[in-house]
């Protein structure tokens, strides 16, 4: 059985294995490269020999007698015919050889300084620690390296060179690993200590291997393929290479073969041992499999992303999960997820059989191959039985209380839905299953924000919780409806998006009216069937009236829409732009609904609803808003045309005039500068003043173009609805399309780089004018000149590079911050404390406010007063 050791680890120290220990910890000596004999039985003295642990069930270990899982395996060893340098110790060996005498083995420093360093080391190890102690060793090594005559025996040091990766040359003579080992052996124990090693725990000569420990077969199990053929692990392949070369070297040594052959074989052995430790040492070609794939040897097993830590220990694979492309479905609930039937028929939930559900569960077994069905049955003893056409009847007979049935997921089941990168708690939320045709996951558009998802090919993952506890906890804590308010923003992160906002905006606009038929059509689309709509004399219902039907009956709200002009004194209900949004007792009295009321992240009306009502109610109100918006667009029609941004001829002329005017004023400023008449601003040079003035003038002109474009927007077009409602796009986008793109800015300045004194050869040297430094006077629709296009490409490229370099960097920074902060908590007195009791902040966020319970980070006192006064 597995022995559990209950001992607290105080410290761990890594040392070099001595040949003695290697021999002592081994159970067998490997002498032959063959793995199996003709019968397929492991060869005695081979690499798969049965003394090194069992991997086949039924067999027993020849060393400890244990069965497959009892025996953890035992080391073996190879006696190398000639010693070989350990590749990971080459640098240390190089240092040790250079700072010791080749003849007497002492460190090349006089006794007095050696004594001093010894004392320093003692003090360091006592007062500080290992690392500081090693700092002394580094000092010793770097000092001794430079000395060329041994102070102890007056021997002259010959310059030693390391020829990468692992051979040493003294002048042109090569030192064999035997020579190296001999020299290291000569270093006396006290000097070894000064080099940072422990003479008992790790002598430097042990870094030149004479014995090689062989890991047990359990570390490198062979796989039997379906064809009956055995496939060996990469490590076994490498080890058999080592044993084979070693054997050949032995034979040649015994036969007294010429020096060259011996040396070649020795180098080959060195190569194999080196690649056994690490298969990507520079200057060494990686050892390859027969197929050409590089072998995965010891270091590669552990190192980097594909290694043991990051691949197997920090990250694991799971069952009961699915992944697919996502696509939108505005008609499913905000806390639902559409699951393709193929997936639903394979994902299961274990259900315990009780007297209440036995008949219900039997139906699942009965319907077996057809979708809602059971895939496995578990007996009370824990045996798993697969449901098949053949076993169906038997299982139906057998099924009794105490059994459990793994049934496929169906509508209403709880699943976790996730999109990477998971930077939020809202990146994994609970959704309710809705089985749908086709092969993509479907999700409601209002939850794209928390996942940061779009539908240009994004994939998402889905997990099925397997126990009642997990499901209950997940639904309570992670359901989409409980996550509507973001704890970062303090406002809803689940909210209306593009079309919903455009739709609600045109629905609640000033003269928006619908006839009886349309009005009820809209409401039924939104899921409202019992309304008390008021119609006017002509039998028309106002859009605001229709919107009011989906609001809670006791809602009170005052806010402003994005169309607000920010007048000095607000005219409130009499606002000319209909920007004063007022809801009283669930009636929208004035104001147009836009993203500032219902949009994700900034919708304050939605925020008030989310704070006041239960999660379930909030989700239905939100769902109704979204559906009503879409339904409005369905009735009204919504389209974006290129001609939306067309301007009448006079406006085009005006824009031209504005730009020409500002260009000429730029020219006069430049002339002033050249004539020396320009007065510099405080703290600026003359040149800087000029740049500032030019940029100011050009920006002014673009702003004027913007207001010209805006003043022209008299009729309601798709583009204007989108920009006004905040659904998508802004005034700048419109101005850049219809009017003028404006000045291109590179790192905060006009574009100056390129040729000498000019960006491109199309301009005169030293031209300071607007056009020569990246001002684009045309709009996207009108078309850019070649020079303008080039300037635009400069800034575009800079922006693209900037985002593609910054995103991974800032992501990693964020990750590090999260890891550093992960076990801070907010105490009952609202102070932030670390897990060890350290006080981090005396009041969370300095004001002690829980953002998720606030209104966008602060407390809306006015509203609180009003609510108290009302109640």
């Amino acid at each position: 059985m597995v022995e559990i050791i209950k001992e607290k680890v105080d410290s761990i120290e890594f040392r070099v294995l001595s040949p003695k220990i290697i021999k002592a910890m081994s159970s067998t000596k490997i002498i032959t490269p063959e793995l199996y004999d003709a019968d397929g039985y492991p060869v005695e003295g081979g690499l798969m020999n049965l003394r090194m642990g069992v991997i086949e069930p039924g067999l027993r270990c020849r060393t400890c007698g244990g069965k497959v899982h009892d025996c953890v395996g035992h080391f073996g060893y190879i006696e190398l015919a000639r010693p070989v340098v350990h590749i990971y110790y080459v640098n240390f060996i190089y240092d040790a050889l250079r700072c010791t005498c080749a003849k007497c083995g002492r460190i090349l420093l006089d006794d007095k300084s050696l004594e001093r360093y010894k004392l320093k080391m003692k003090v360091m190890s006592k007062q500080r620690g290992k690392f500081e102690q090693w700092d002394v060793s580094h000092e010793v090594i770097s000092k001794a390296k430079t000395i060329s005559v041994c102070p102890h025996c007056n021997e002259k040091k010959i310059k030693l060179k390391l020829k990468k990766p692992s051979s040493f040359y003294e002048d042109k003579v090569r030192l064999t690993p035997i020579d190296v080992r001999e020299r290291l052996e000569r270093i006396p124990d006290e000097d070894v200590e000064l080099l940072g090693m422990d003479p008992v725990g790790g002598r430097p000569e042990w870094m030149v291997l004479t014995l090689l420990p062989i890991p047990s077969t359990t570390v490198r199990p062979s796989i039997t393929l379906e064809s009956g053929q055995k496939s060996e692990d990469d490590l076994t392949h490498k080890l058999s290479d080592i044993v084979r070369t070693n054997q050949r070297l032995y034979e040649n040594l015994n036969a007294g073969a010429p020096e060259i052959i011996i040396e070649d074989l020795w180098d080959l052995l060195q190569y194999h041992v080196t690649t056994y430790f690490s298969n990507n040492v520079s200057q060494i070609p990686p050892a390859r499999h027969r197929s050409g794939r590089p072998l995965k040897t010891l270091a590669e097993r552990i190192k980097s992303k594909e290694g043991r830590f990051r691949k197997n220990l920090a990250g694991k694979r799971v069952n009961f999960s699915a992944r697919s492309v996502i696509s939108p479905d505005p008609n499913i609930g905000i806390n639902e997820v559409g699951i393709p039937e193929i997936m639903a028929s394979k994902l299961t939930i274990p259900e315990r059989v009780t007297s209440w559900n036995i008949d219900w569960l039997k139906e699942f077994i009965k319907s077996y191959p057809k979708y809602p069905c059971a895939l496995y049955v578990f007996t009370p003893e824990g045996f798993r039985k697969k449901v098949t056409e053949e076993t169906k009847e038997v299982l139906l007979q057998e099924l009794a209380i105490g059994y459990s049935v793994e049934r496929t997921i169906q509508n209403g089941d709880i699943v976790l839905f996730n999109r990477q990168p998971s930077l939020h708690k809202m990146s994994i939320m609970v959704h309710h299953v809705k089985v749908l045709p086709y092969k993509t996951f479907r999700l409601n558009l209002t939850v794209t924000d928390p996942y940061n998802a779009d539908f240009d090919g994004d994939d998402m993952n889905l997990h099925v919780p397997q126990t009642e506890e997990a499901r209950a906890e997940a639904e309570e804590l992670m359901d989409v409806t409980t996550q509507i308010i973001s704890p970062r923003l303090g406002t809803p992160i689940v909210g209306c998006k593009q079309d919903h906002i455009s739709g609600l905006f045109s629905l609640t606009g000033k003269d928006s009216k619908f006839n009886r038929e349309e009005a009820f059509q809209l409401l039924s689309r939104a899921g409202v069937y019992d309304s008390n709509l008021k119609f006017d004399k002509e039998g028309m219902a106002e859009g605001k009236e229709i919107f009011s039907q989906i609001l809670p009956k006791d809602l009170f709200y005052v806010g402003k829409s994005g169309t607000c002009k920010k007048c000095a004194t607000c005219k409130k209900e009499e606002c000319t732009t209909d920007s004063y949004v007022k809801v009283d007792k669930g009636q929208l009295l004035s104001g147009v609904i836009d993203d500032k009321s219902v949009g994700a992240r900034k919708g304050l009306l939605l925020n008030d609803i989310a704070k006041k009502y239960t999660p379930k109610e909030v989700s239905t109100y939100l769902q109704r808003m979204a559906l009503l918006g879409i339904a409005t667009l369905d009735i009204r029609g919504f389209t974006v045309l290129s001609s939306d941004n067309d301007l009448p001829e006079e406006t085009v002329k005006e824009i031209k005039n504005v730009i020409s005017k500002s260009l000429s004023s730029v020219n006069t400023v430049i002339k002033n500068y050249e004539d020396g008449e320009l007065v510099s601003l405080p703290g600026r040079t003359l040149r800087e003043t000029l740049e500032q003035k030019i940029i100011m003038l050009l920006n002014q002109s673009r702003n004027q173009v913007g207001s010209l474009v805006l003043s022209n927007e008299t009729k309601e077009t798709g583009s204007s609805i989108m920009t006004k409602s905040g659904a998508k796009g802004n005034l700048l986008n419109l101005a850049q399309m219809a009017g003028c793109v404006g000045q291109q800015v590179l790192r905060g300045f006009r574009i100056t780089r390129g040729y000498n004194d000019r960006p491109t050869p199309h301009f005169k040297k030293g031209d300071l004018g607007a056009a020569a430094h990246g001002f684009i006077r045309h709009g996207y629709k009108g078309g850019l000149t070649p020079s303008e296009f080039f300037f635009h490409a400069i800034t575009s490229r800079d922006a693209t590079m900037d985002t593609s370099m910054r995103t991974p960097k800032s992501g990693y920074f964020q990750r590090r911050m999260i890891n550093a902060f992960q076990d801070f908590r907010i105490d009952m007195d609202s102070s932030v404390r670390a897990s060890d009791g350290h006080l981090i902040q005396f009041a969370y966020g300095e004001d002690g406010i829980d953002v998720s319970k606030s209104d966008a980070g602060s407390i809306d006192v006015e509203r609180l007063v009003r609510e108290v006064a009302e109640s």
Partner: protein
């Protein structure tokens, strides 16, 4: 060994003296208001927060502000800072030796 350390100490002291600020840093707009908390209030605060000095944020003895205030080790400094979220916020730091 011991001599060396002494030498180093003398040197470092000399450096510190040179670095002593020549302007009144306490009145600089970026430096928040520092006060040494009176002893009786220290006890009150520690009791209120239910911590000992070990768990409070530290400030080094060698900090220019600490030197100017003439604070001793284990003194509590009350810092009143301007805060983006709360207007003003209060922070405490314990003076510690290097």
């Amino acid at each position: 060994m011991a001599e060396e350390e002494k030498k180093e100490n003398v040197e470092s002291n000399a450096e510190v003296k040179e670095e002593e600020p020549t302007i009144d840093i306490l009145s600089h707009s970026y430096v928040p208001k520092f006060e040494i908390l009176p002893q009786e209030e220290v006890e009150k605060i520690l009791k209120e927060l239910k911590v000992d000095r070990l768990h409070l944020p530290k400030i080094l003895m060698t900090d220019p502000v600490v030197k100017l205030l003439n604070a001793k080790v284990n003194d509590l400094l009350k810092i009143t800072r301007k805060s983006y979220t709360a207007g003003t916020s209060i922070f405490y730091r314990v003076v510690v030796n290097v």
